[in-house]
C-alpha cells in the first residue's frame, strides 16, 4: 500500500528542519522505506509497499502440568479441564509440551496480524509528538502537546483511506493547504496527486528542487552563491524566486565586510561581484512567491538595504570620532562575565598572557585594543563583526599593520573549518584571548558538562589546539595549563587529531601517552606513526611491547641498574641486546619516521627472544638482568609513541 503523512504547521525555523526530517526517516512503516521532504510549513513522509497488515503469528499457550503418570487415553484432571474451558480450546489442539519448568499442557494459538491502518493510527501521533526539537512550545493550553510550532493540519493516508488520529484537536484527513498568498487553504488530495496539487498551489515540496531553483536563478542574476545562505533560503520558502536589486555605488566606500554582513546575515541576500574580490552595487534576494511583475518587492528590498547601509555609514562616521585607544575606559562598562568582571579586566589579563607567550610589542598593542570595538556603534549593531571592525578601525586610525591584522583575526578560528589567524601576532592574541577565558572559567568552576557549555569553552579549547598545531607554535602544551583544564584540552587534542585530521584513536593515544611537549611535535610523531604502522614488522612489535609492559608490571620491576653484558646468554638474548644497541645508535638524531622504522626492525630479535628465552630464569641475577634489558628496551623506544597503546589486529580495543 502507499503511505502519505503531511504534518502541517506554522513556519518552522529553517535550521531545525533537516534534524526533524532525519528523525522522520527512521519512522517505522512496517518495513517500507520512508521518503521524507519538507517546506517551512509541512513535514512529509511518503512510502510505497507498506504491507496491508502484519502477518499472522503463532504462539503456544501454556497450561497446568499434566497429572503424574498421565498417558494418552486417560481422563484429564480438573485443573486441565478448567483451563481448556476457560480459553475455549479445542481438545484436538491440546498436547503435552516439554518446557524449562517441566511437562506442561500446551495449545498452539494463531494470533492474527493487525491492519497497518490500525497500527499507524496508534503509532503516528506518538511518533509525531516524539520528534525532538531544540526548543518546543505549547499552544493549546498548559500541559497541552508540545511541538516546534502549532500543528494546524494533518494528512495521513494509506492508499485512499485516512489513518484516523488526532493531535492537539487537529484530526487527520486528506486536506492540505497551499502557499499562504497564492494557494488555496483547503485542497483535497490523494497520494497520487498530492505533489502536483501542491505545485498547482505554489508549493514546491522537494527541497532539492527548491535549492536547485534558487541556485540556478540566483547564479543567472550574478549572485555569488553561499552554501549556508542557500540552505537557509531553501527552508524559509515554499516557492522561491530570485530577483536582483541595486544600491547606490557610493556605499561601496564602506568596507566589503560590512556590506556583505548586512546583505548576507541581516537581509539574507546574496552579494554580487563585479570581478573576483570586488563587490558590485547589486544584490540578489530570494522571495517566497512566484514573481514581482510590478517591481514592488525589488523596490521594497532596495529601500531596506539603503536604510541599513545608511545606518552602517552613520555608525562608521560616529565611531571614528573616538579612537580605539580612547575607548579602553569604556570597556569597564562592558561585562565579560558577572563573576569575571569587565572586558577592561579581561584586556589586562590578555596582555599578561601575551607576555607569557613572548608576544612582541605589536601583539601586546593588539591585545590592548582587541576588545575596544565592543563599544562601537558598528559592533553593537553587527555583533558578528567583532574583531573585524576593530581591525578595520585600527587600520583607519594608522595603527601599525601587524596590530590591525591581529585585531582583525583574533576571534579566529570560530569553528574547526575556519582558518587560524594569518599572522604570528594574531595567533598569539587569539591564544591569549581563549586561554584567558578557559583559565578564568575553570578557576571559578564554570566547567562544561555534557551538553551544557554556555560559554562555548569547547570551541575556545578547540581553537587553542588548532592554532598550536597549525601555526606550529613551540609552547609546551602542558606548561600552559593546570588540571583539570589540562584534561579538558587533551580531550580537544584527541578530538582534533581523530575527527579533523583522521588519525586512528589508538595512534593518538599512543603518542599522547609517551613524551610530553609541543602539539606541533605531537603532530610530527603522529604523522610518522601513521606512515610506519602499515609496515609488516610494526604491529607485531607493538604487540611484543605490550607483552613486555605486562611482564614488567607482573614482576613489579623497577629498573635501577645497568645491563650486565657478562650475564647475557649467547644466542637470542645476546642478539637482542646487540640489536638494541644497534637501533639505539641508528635512531640517534634520526627523524621520527626513520626512527620508527628502526624500532620496527627489532621485531625478529624480540620474537626470537620470547620464543627461546625464559625471562623468569632460576638465577635471580640473570632474571634481573633480563628484566632490565626489557625495561631499557621499553623506555628507550617509547619516546615517540607508547606502542603498548596500539590496538593490534585480533584485539578489540
Amino acid at each position: 500500500m502507499n503511505f502519505l503523512l503531511e504534518i502541517g504547521t506554522e513556519e518552522i525555523p529553517h535550521w531545525m528542519i533537516p534534524g526533524a526530517l532525519k528523525q522522520l526517516s527512521a519512522l517505522d512503516l512496517l518495513g517500507a522505506k520512508p521518503e521524507i521532504d519538507a517546506t517551512p510549513r509541512r513535514l512529509v513522509v511518503r512510502a510505497t509497499g507498506v504491507p496491508e497488515r502484519t502477518p499472522d503469528t503463532e504462539d503456544v499457550l501454556l497450561g497446568p502440568a499434566p497429572s503424574p503418570g498421565f498417558s494418552a487415553g486417560m481422563a484429564m484432571d480438573k485443573a486441565t479441564e478448567g483451563w481448556i474451558k476457560k480459553h475455549k480450546l479445542d481438545i484436538q489442539d491440546v498436547y503435552i509440551q516439554e518446557t524449562e519448568k517441566g511437562r506442561r499442557w500446551g495449545a498452539a494459538r494463531r494470533i492474527p496480524g493487525k491492519r497497518a491502518l490500525d497500527i499507524f493510527s496508534e503509532t503516528l501521533p506518538v511518533a509525531i509528538v516524539g520528534i525532538q526539537w531544540p526548543k518546543t512550545m505549547y499552544w493549546t493550553a498548559k500541559n497541552g502537546p508540545r511541538f516546534i510550532r502549532p500543528i494546524r493540519w494533518i494528512i495521513a493516508l494509506l492508499d485512499d483511506q485516512v489513518i484516523p488520529f488526532e493531535i492537539a484537536g487537529v484530526r487527520s484527513g486528506n486536506l492540505t493547504r497551499g502557499h499562504r498568498q497564492l494557494g488555496s487553504s483547503s485542497i483535497p488530495v490523494t497520494i497520487e496527486n498530492y505533489e502536483t496539487e501542491l505545485r498547482r498551489n505554489f508549493v514546491i515540496l522537494s527541497s532539492h528542487e527548491r535549492r536547485h531553483k534558487i541556485e540556478k536563478e540566483a547564479a543567472a542574476l550574478g549572485a555569488k552563491i553561499d552554501s549556508d545562505l542557500l540552505e537557509t533560503l531553501t527552508f524559509i520558502t515554499e516557492y522561491p524566486t530570485a530577483i536582483r536589486g541595486e544600491f547606490d555605488p557610493k556605499f561601496l566606500e564602506l568596507p566589503a565586510e560590512v556590506l556583505s554582513t548586512v546583505m548576507r546575515h541581516h537581509q539574507k541576500y546574496f552579494s554580487v561581484e563585479a570581478h573576483p574580490g570586488q563587490l558590485a552595487p547589486n544584490f540578489v534576494a530570494v522571495m517566497n512567491t512566484s514573481g514581482d511583475p510590478e517591481g514592488l518587492v525589488k523596490h521594497g528590498n532596495e529601500r531596506v538595504l539603503k536604510a541599513r547601509f545608511n545606518d552602517a555609514r552613520f555608525f562608521w562616521d560616529v565611531d571614528q570620532q573616538k579612537k580605539l585607544i580612547d575607548r579602553l575606559d569604556d570597556l569597564k562598562k562592558v561585562t565579560f562575565h558577572a563573576k569575571l568582571g569587565s572586558y577592561f579586566e579581561k584586556t589586562e589579563r590578555m596582555m599578561a598572557v601575551v607576555r607569557e607567550l613572548g608576544g612582541d610589542q605589536h601583539a601586546e598593542r593588539a591585545a590592548l585594543l582587541s576588545k575596544t570595538d565592543l563599544t562601537t556603534e558598528m559592533v553593537k549593531e553587527f555583533t558578528e563583526l567583532q574583531g573585524v571592525v576593530g581591525g578595520l578601525y585600527a587600520r583607519a586610525q594608522d595603527e601599525p599593520e601587524p596590530v590591525a591584522q591581529a585585531i582583525y583575526d583574533h576571534y579566529q578560528p570560530t569553528s574547526m573549518e575556519d582558518d587560524i589567524p594569518a599572522t604570528r601576532e594574531g595567533q598569539i592574541v587569539s591564544l591569549a584571548d581563549k586561554l584567558d577565558t578557559l583559565r578564568e572559567c575553570f578557576r571559578i568552576g564554570m566547567i562544561p558538562s555534557g551538553s551544557k557549555d554556555p560559554f562555548a569553552l569547547r570551541r575556545a579549547a578547540q581553537g587553542v589546539v588548532k592554532i598550536l598545531v597549525e601555526a606550529k607554535l613551540h609552547y609546551d602544551f602542558y606548561a600552559l595549563l593546570t588540571p583539570p583544564l589540562t584534561d579538558f584540552l587533551l580531550e580537544r587534542v584527541q578530538h582534533y587529531f581523530r575527527e579533523i585530521r583522521g588519525f586512528k584513536y589508538d595512534e593518538v593515544n599512543a603518542v599522547l601517552a609517551s613524551s610530553r611537549g609541543t602539539l606541533a611535535d605531537v603532530e610530527d610523531r603522529l604523522t610518522a606513526l601513521a606512515e610506519v604502522r602499515p609496515t609488516e614488522n610494526f604491529e607485531p612489535l607493538a604487540a611484543s611491547f605490550k607483552r613486555i609492559r605486562n611482564i614488567l608490571k607482573q614482576a613489579e620491576f623497577e629498573a635501577d641498574g645497568q645491563i650486565q653484558e657478562s650475564l647475557l646468554e649467547p644466542g637470542p638474548e645476546r642478539d637482542l641486546y646487540s640489536a638494541y644497541q644497534r637501533v639505539r645508535a641508528q635512531i640517534q638524531g634520526a627523524g621520527y619516521h626513520a626512527a620508527l622504522e628502526g624500532i620496527a626492525s627489532l621485531r625478529p630479535s624480540v620474537d626470537l627472544f620470547f620464543d627461546k628465552v625464559l625471562v623468569n630464569a632460576g638465577d635471580p641475577a640473570v632474571r634481573v638482568n633480563r628484566l632490565t634489558l626489557l625495561s631499557d628496551l621499553l623506555t628507550e623506544f617509547s619516546t615517540i609513541a607508547d606502542f603498548s597503546e596500539i590496538v593490534t589486529s585480533g584485539e578489540n580495543k
Binding site: E10, E11, P13, H14, P40, K135, M137, Y138, W139, T140, A141, K142, R149, P150, R152, R180, Q181, L182, S185, I236, T237, Q267, Y269, A285, M287, N288, T289, D292, P293, E294, L296, V297, H299, G300, N301, R303, V304, L305, K306, A307, N310, D311, F314, K332, K333, V334, T335, A338, G341, S342
Partner: protein
C-alpha cells in the same frame, strides 16, 4: 495613500471587528506595549481576553536627537493580544496587513524565527519577526511564560511597528517625512520630543536623583506587596495594579540610567534582578487575587 493616523484607525477597526477591546495607551512610561498591565497582567490566569492598543514606547538608548531617519527614542507600537490564540491567528494577522492596503499577492512575506524574552519581566515566548519585502514590520509571539508563570491559555501577541509600516506605505525614507495627518508631517508632531528627550536622557538626567527615584519606587512596590493577604475577604481591593505601576517606573528609570551610562558591570545584573523580582512579585499577587 493613507496617512499615519488613518493606518492606525484601520488597524484598530480591523481588530475591533474581531472582538478586541480597543484600549487607549497606558499613561506611564513603558519600553514596549508588552509591559502595559493590559498585556503583562491580563495574559496571566484563565480568563480569555482580546485587546488592541497603540502604545508609545520609550527606549532612551535609541534616541538620536531626531537626526537618524529610522531610530527613535519613542516609537509607536500597535499591540494586539488574542488570548487564547485562535487557530487561524496568522491568517487574521495577514488580513490586517491587507486591510491597510498591502496586496499580499504582489509582495513577499516571510516568517523568520525570532523568539522573544524579557528578563526584567520573567517573560518569554516563541515566534517570528514578520518580513515584508525584507522589512521587519511586526513581531509575532506565542507567550509561554510571564512573571515566571506558565500561562494557562497561550496568548498570541502581535506587535506592529507603526512608523516602519507607514514609511513603507507612504514610500518615504525617513520617519520624520511620514504624513501623520493630512498636511502634517511626523516631524511637526514629534521632532521636538525626540530632540529634547535625547538631550535630557543623554546629557541632563541627574544620575543621583534617578537612582534615588528608583530606590523609592522599588521600596513602595515592596511595601505594597508585603501587605497583600491572600486569605483576606477583601483581597479584590488590594492595589496590585498600582504596585505594578511602581515596577514600570523602576524599569524606565533603569533604562534612563543605562542610556546615561551610569550603570556599572556588577550593578547591571543586580538591577535587572531587582526589577524582575518586583515584576514576578506583582504577577504572583495578581494571580492569587484573581483566583
Amino acid at each position: 495613500m493613507d496617512c499615519f493616523q488613518e493606518t492606525v484607525f484601520k488597524l484598530k477597526r480591523y481588530w475591533a471587528e474581531r472582538g478586541a477591546i480597543i484600549q487607549e495607551p497606558y499613561d506611564l512610561e513603558v519600553g514596549a506595549g508588552t509591559m502595559c498591565p493590559e498585556t503583562f497582567l491580563r495574559v496571566l490566569g484563565p480568563q480569555p481576553y482580546r485587546v488592541a492598543y497603540v502604545q508609545p514606547s520609550r527606549r532612551p538608548a535609541d534616541g538620536r536627537y531626531g537626526e537618524n531617519p529610522n531610530r527613535l527614542y519613542k516609537h509607536q507600537q500597535l499591540q494586539v493580544i488574542l488570548k487564547p490564540s485562535p487557530e487561524d491567528v496568522i491568517d487574521q494577522y495577514l488580513g490586517s496587513i491587507e486591510a491597510i492596503g498591502i496586496d499580499l499577492k504582489k509582495h513577499d512575506i516571510k516568517f523568520e524565527e525570532d523568539n522573544w524574552e524579557a528578563p526584567t519581566l520573567g517573560a518569554w515566548g516563541i515566534g517570528w519577526q514578520v518580513m515584508l519585502d525584507g522589512l521587519e514590520i511586526s513581531q509575532f509571539t506565542y507567550f509561554q511564560q510571564c512573571g515566571g508563570f506558565d500561562l494557562d491559555l497561550v496568548p498570541a501577541e502581535l506587535t506592529y511597528g507603526l512608523e516602519r509600516i507607514s514609511a513603507f506605505l507612504q514610500g518615504v525614507d525617513s520617519v520624520y517625512d511620514i504624513e501623520w495627518a493630512p498636511g502634517v508631517k511626523y516631524a511637526q508632531v514629534r521632532f521636538a520630543d525626540e530632540l529634547q528627550s535625547s538631550v535630557y536622557n543623554f546629557e541632563m538626567a541627574q544620575i543621583d536623583r534617578l537612582r534615588l527615584l528608583f530606590d523609592e519606587y522599588e521600596a513602595e512596590c515592596k511595601r505594597l506587596l508585603s501587605l497583600y493577604d491572600e486569605k483576606s475577604e477583601c483581597k479584590k481591593r488590594f492595589p496590585v495594579i498600582p504596585a505594578y505601576e511602581q515596577v514600570l517606573k523602576c524599569s524606565h528609570l533603569f533604562n534612563l540610567l543605562d542610556a546615561r551610562g551610569a550603570i556599572s558591570v556588577t550593578e547591571r545584573v543586580g538591577m535587572i534582578k531587582r526589577v524582575r523580582d518586583l515584576a514576578v512579585g506583582t504577577a504572583k499577587t495578581w494571580v492569587s487575587q484573581q483566583s
